[in-house]
Point group: C2
Chain length 255, copies 2
Amino acid sequence: MQVIQSVSNPKVKNWKKLNTKKGRKTQEKYLLDGWHLVKEALKANVEVLEIMFTPDYQDYEELYQLQNVELYEITEQIAKNLSATPSPQGIFATIKTTPATTQIPTELTGAWLLLDGVQDPGNIGTMVRTADAAGFTGVVFGTGSADIYQAKVLRSMQGSHFHLEVRSGELMPWIAQFKKQGDPVYGSELNPEAVSYQAVPQAEQFALIMGNEGNGMQAQHLAETTKNLYIPIQGEAESLNVAVAAGILMFTLKK
Amino acid sequence: MQVIQSVSNPKVKNWKKLNTKKGRKTQEKYLLDGWHLVKEALKANVEVLEIMFTPDYQDYEELYQLQNVELYEITEQIAKNLSATPSPQGIFATIKTTPATTQIPTELTGAWLLLDGVQDPGNIGTMVRTADAAGFTGVVFGTGSADIYQAKVLRSMQGSHFHLEVRSGELMPWIAQFKKQGDPVYGSELNPEAVSYQAVPQAEQFALIMGNEGNGMQAQHLAETTKNLYIPIQGEAESLNVAVAAGILMFTLKK
């Protein structure tokens, strides 16, 4: 174990850079902040490269038993410097990013959530967490959606990205593949052809597309769906929060 | 219309104080930030006291046709000073707060959402918005829940608090009143007696209690429910976000 006491230590500077997309791309790793996430990473089948913790965490014997993980004791000041939250728990990890696969599995199984330009990191994270809970196989971060390795997305996912498949890229080939297999691709946009989500049968295998908070789905994706679903609104609210809508749809549609 | 150009103007100072619970209590009013919320207030049956806007908003002729509303032109600097967001739209209103009624309607109708110590302002606001969309009659902010007039709660409610009844106070008398009427009171906590939310019939009239993000419902409330519901989790996620869970339950249970 190495002790680092200065925020200007080159290692600290590099970890700090993982808060940017460019930094993550260059170093091919991302930063986890907080005990729950680090624990989820250790349980999961991912390559944990480094764990950094303040002296408070020295009690955690399990850290010392880890193989192939570099351990660093850091100061509270460094923890504050690295964290995107005002009061960090004082434990971090770096994880190897998986190279972006543009390749789509030749046979898709299960239910998949397709994010079409969803922007808010909290919404995105919550949707991945909900997809996990609903028994979905994977989530595709379509072009224009927020970055999966952003601190706020990671925080709201609560480790669910370790439990299901997470991909990113253009959605069109995914939609095409589902349709080729004969599986339904559901849009979620209120248009004249839309049907109530309660009118479609539950299924094990399908794709559900959720659109951008303000602008909805992209027209080219909308044109390719097998059905568009809407959630009937009884009160005077104009719409639902996208993560809530996704939750209702995922739990109702998934067999 | 009055023009205010200095952030140290006493009116500005008083408006600024509306960002605190104490300020709202003393002045018996609260602050709305943004055009959507101000518009919702004007449509609703509430007492709009003042509207403050930057010169950008002078086009909105409808403002000048309002009766009994004091209009103020303010500077962008004042707008930034008043707002809790980094880039305010430049329009605000103050609304008279309704005196806290501890009294419970002698006959409760429809479905009500009871918040048992829910803390996160975004979650609370989203839940009120979802309750509105699901056709609920009202929401009760139980003791220990975040304050309804907080900027972030107002922002996520998107004006839904104008569409349904919003009350605050101890939840016990509400639970007692529903039970007296013979209406179900559903808790949402996983315990050995809990049943799946899919196993209860839809109803028009019931109460649904959602608990604190970390600690769940208070034991005294849990002891008084007619049933506790849980949402079966298929994946490895440990739990659902409370606003997502509330959305699934509200839309499934409400006839």
